[in-house]
Symmetry: C2
Subunit: 236 residues, 2 copies
């Protein structure tokens, strides 16, 4: 057993105690899920690895019952998979998962853009901010932040639909996709080329031509899928 509670605790322990003292607004399980979600999406827990109830519960100072509730939350977010009597594991996506994720993205994200027929005006502020953030990150060669900005771009785009459920759906899809990006060695070629295409989509939307923006996004997602699937096949 390599993962003992102490070594893990030193890395995992965040402002949990401070939060608790400050104001325990949410339940312990939810805060636990927040911590674990961050660790998973940043790649600290690698896909396929098992999350031991005892090790993590001990490291974070919570009981097994509480930890299991946090696991349930993340399992329903599709970040963990639960195998009966075997425990929970960080989700490992198949190539089919990736293609399905892009299929849904194209379906939903393109449909949202298509319905735009007039300049959205201030609604594009968040989109613009994400593009600017991405350009700044490229300037600093901060590839991880560039990836984050890229995700924010798509999340901001989707809010144009004005639907809480569509927001949540796409947020989930992107969270799943992050599991794939972290098995890649070099994130740069997966994000950098799309930066100017983000800008192009933004400018097209400003004119109110949703149909043109949709075509741009469709091509964008097709290219991204191809590139990602090719690279993913090699590391699996």
């Amino acid at each position: 057993m390599s993962t003992d509670a102490e070594s893990m605790g030193s890395i995992l322990s965040t402002g949990l105690e401070a939060d608790r003292l400050l104001l325990g607004r949410t339940s312990t399980a939810e805060r636990l899920a927040d911590i674990l979600r961050a660790r998973i999406t940043e790649g600290f827990f690698e896909p396929g690895s098992r999350l031991s109830e005892e090790a993590i519960g001990g490291a974070l100072g919570v009981s097994r019952n509480t930890l299991r509730e946090a696991f349930r939350l993340l399992t329903h977010e599709k970040l963990l998979v639960h195998e009966l009597n075997r425990g929970v594991f960080v989700r490992r996506l198949s190539v089919e998962d990736v293609t399905d994720l892009y299929k849904v993205r194209k379906l939903v994200q393109c449909a949202v853009l298509r319905e735009i027929t007039a300049p959205p005006g201030e609604k594009l502020n968040a989109v613009e901010a994400a593009v600017v953030d991405g350009e700044a990150a490229r300037e600093r060669q901060a590839w991880r932040e560039l990836g984050t900005a890229n995700i924010h771009f798509h999340q901001a785009l989707i809010t144009l639909a004005g639907s809480p459920r569509v927001d949540e759906l796409v947020r989930g899809l992107l969270a799943e996709l992050r599991l794939v990006f972290h098995v890649m060695a070099d994130p740069q070629p997966f994000h950098e080329p799309y930066l100017e295409r983000n800008r192009e989509i933004l400018e097209t939307l400003k004119t109110g031509d949703g149909q043109a923006a949709e075509r741009l996004l469709a091509a964008y997602l097709d290219d991204a899928e191809k590139q990602l699937v090719d690279a993913y096949r090699k590391v699996m």
Copy 2:
């Protein structure tokens, strides 16, 4: 305390014990969720009512810990809402929820049909079956079954996308909508008029004209939304 364990147990107890003896393939929490989900979607637990951990746990003979895991599952399916330190309640949808649900339905379901450019052939078998079931139910004036067939129709339609995630998404949307139907007194006017429109969409799809089918479905969903929202406003 009106809900005592005994009276509830007599109604709730299903083949739980049999299942357990037969083969405990799934976890207890999942089987519990199955039972509760059925009770909710069939309207036994009314929207807004609280599900007491003690009463239900006692009635079904499971511990509170196990029951809470089942609650978590149903909460993430949006059938229950969890209020911190207050418990779980059967979801009560707002009018905004209903309009949002239809917005997503139009977005996704129409996009699926639009992409069809050739006769789907055997893929329509399940759709055809749902239409036939609905017509048979109307014959018998079995309105509840008609509603079920109607839901099957849309679920079958969506499988044409060939995407597990789209399937799951729409399944969730329809499950949420069922919460609305159960607060209505008479289900007939909400299902019966759409039967022939289902048939019309089916026949159009057989010709491979997805765009025409999409237009039919869009009008269909617009009408259904209007009718449902109008009726829902009155009972809220």
